[in-house]
Subunit: 335 residues, 2 copies
């Protein structure tokens, strides 16, 4: 039996080009003792994919040239030689851009099924992006009632959850997103207090209007000039969970934004970078909190589901131009 | 009765110039109910003095033009109309560049007398710089045995204490200081593992040699190119207590160093600015720890004591050229 898998043919220079990844068919090897075969249902496309394709400094080894492209995946076990893993089980974890994956269970765990919640919403929330939002905001952001929280990429996979947790914790939440539809969604559907449309508004002026007393927490995902405008308005003892810098991931000659060192000192800011896997020992805590909020109707999430593994390259590119609206997933096979 | 006091005549531009501050004589007002009169023994000169003279963004209001220059002081009560404050008591806190100060007790508290320790060492350690070193290193740096700690301005008031606490906590401690005498002192007298003489060594190359596996904690006091070299070598999960940026305080057109945003994200660094007064509710904790280490012979400190209030301007300038060796104090009157 064959599988289809995207392999990294060359490292992208700037935007991801056709030919940087190649979709190939190859035989699925027989399962060894301790392995299982997963039929991928959803492939998670995330900003960090572009980092993994590069050889820039990063938090895991880059994907090697010629190797399958790495990704978060969710699928159904179709065969198993691993104790405790049964055919039919839904598993989620770190996999490949492929329709079938052979796994030994590393970085892979059963996905709980929430009653009345779709698999896409369960996977798109409880797996990587939910814990990212939860630990970044709760551990680093430390939200307190009445504080002002700014969330960039507000309608994206992580941002939509960050803002809703902020509201649950009593913050004033200001999103930043591209376009009226996304801004309307986070305000009208998710309950954000306001959202700045960076494509049509002067972000600095809008922040001055919406955050006249400054910003306590900047959940940073974007970097670049938008980050600079937010940082300028941080309040004393402000916190910056640094989750991503997507605006620079496709840059060929990246220039670091200024360090704001004097401001960090004078306003006693905390800047802390994090990756969700740093919190892996505490995923039980985040899973329980997120599931509870989802089942209690306090947390809703939007998935942007696109069909077909063959469209993975064209689809992942949209992350870097703001083309996605909600957590971006590829539907590789039916549930 | 008159007092002598330095008043801020104009805000320095670049280096502190003669005439930026003026030494004047003025009558000491009669004490009101709740006030006491302090004869200043030691005036503490600190890097932050230059900030207070300016109108740059800062963590307290700048000293107003025409007002007495602000400073940490230690003195003896000579008259009191405040309950609980008796003539003869030694008090330390926030005061003025003056030989006598009228205080209502705000930001002023009794200085404990440590047996066998001079008043200069007690004041120069237990008052501002000791808590600065303690909270910056312990709360933000979070030193663990076997970790590598780099301390800039290693022979200065704060740096010498940071390095010794680092050794008490089991760290490898690398100092950075200007000149052989200071480097020899922190290694041979204070037990640092090594010290880089930034005036005569390539700091980057020395860090590569002394910290081949990278740096866990950078206790930052200096900023500028030395900070950049240290930051480049931070390890994953490294911490940067940001205590000062003295290299830029006299700059006329300050340029922020790059932000290292990508590195902060990928290595999951924590950068946190702090001011010692943020920890005022916990000064009891730092005082007990510091006094215990001093009396136990684990913490020794050097004071650089200069005579005469009239020399305050010439003396404070030395902080910005590395002219001091240890905690810089002016002896205003005899103990």
């Amino acid at each position: 039996m064959d599988r289809k898998v995207w392999k990294l043919a060359r490292r992208p220079v700037g935007d991801i080009a056709d030919g940087d990844l190649e979709l190939v068919s190859e035989a699925i090897p027989d399962l060894a003792e301790g392995q299982f075969l997963l039929a991928v249902i959803y492939l998670s496309l995330d900003p960090t994919n572009r980092i993994w394709m590069s050889d820039m400094e990063q938090y895991m080894p880059p994907v090697e040239l010629g190797a399958p492209m790495r990704a978060g995946v969710c699928g159904r076990v179709v065969a198993s030689r691993k104790a405790g893993v049964e055919p039919g089980q839904i598993m989620a974890g770190l996999g490949e851009w492929a329709d079938h994956i052979v796994s030994d269970g590393s970085f892979m765990s059963p996905l709980p099924q929430l009653p009345g919640v779709s698999l896409a919403a369960t996977y798109g929330t409880l797996a990587l992006v939910g814990p990212t939002a939860y630990f970044g905001l709760m551990d680093i952001g430390q939200p307190k009632p009445g504080e002002t929280l700014v969330v960039s990429a507000a309608a994206g996979g992580v941002g939509q959850i960050v803002g809703q947790i902020g509201k649950i914790k009593g913050c004033r939440v200001i999103g930043i997103a591209g376009g009226k539809a996304k801004c309307d969604y986070v305000v009208n559907e998710l309950g954000f207090d306001a959202c700045i449309d960076y494509k049509h508004e002067d972000v600095g002026a809008a922040l001055d209007r919406l955050c006249p007393d400054g910003i306590d927490i900047n959940f940073e995902q974007v970097g670049g000039p938008i980050m600079v405008e937010v940082l300028k308005r941080m309040k004393t003892f402000g916190r910056v969970p640094l989750c991503g810098l997507i605006s620079g991931y496709n840059a060929i000659d990246a220039v670091e934004e200024p360090g704001f060192w004097t401001m960090i000192l004078m306003r006693r800011l905390t800047i802390r970078g994090f990756i969700v896997t740093d919190f892996a020992p505490r995923f039980g805590e985040s899973g329980a909190a997120l599931a509870g909020w989802m089942l209690g109707g306090q947390l809703q999430t939007r998935q942007d589901i696109r069909p077909g593994l063959e469209n993975a390259v064209a689809t992942v590119r949209e992350l870097y131009t703001g083309g996605n609206f909600g957590k971006l997933l590829i539907q590789v096979s039916d549930y």
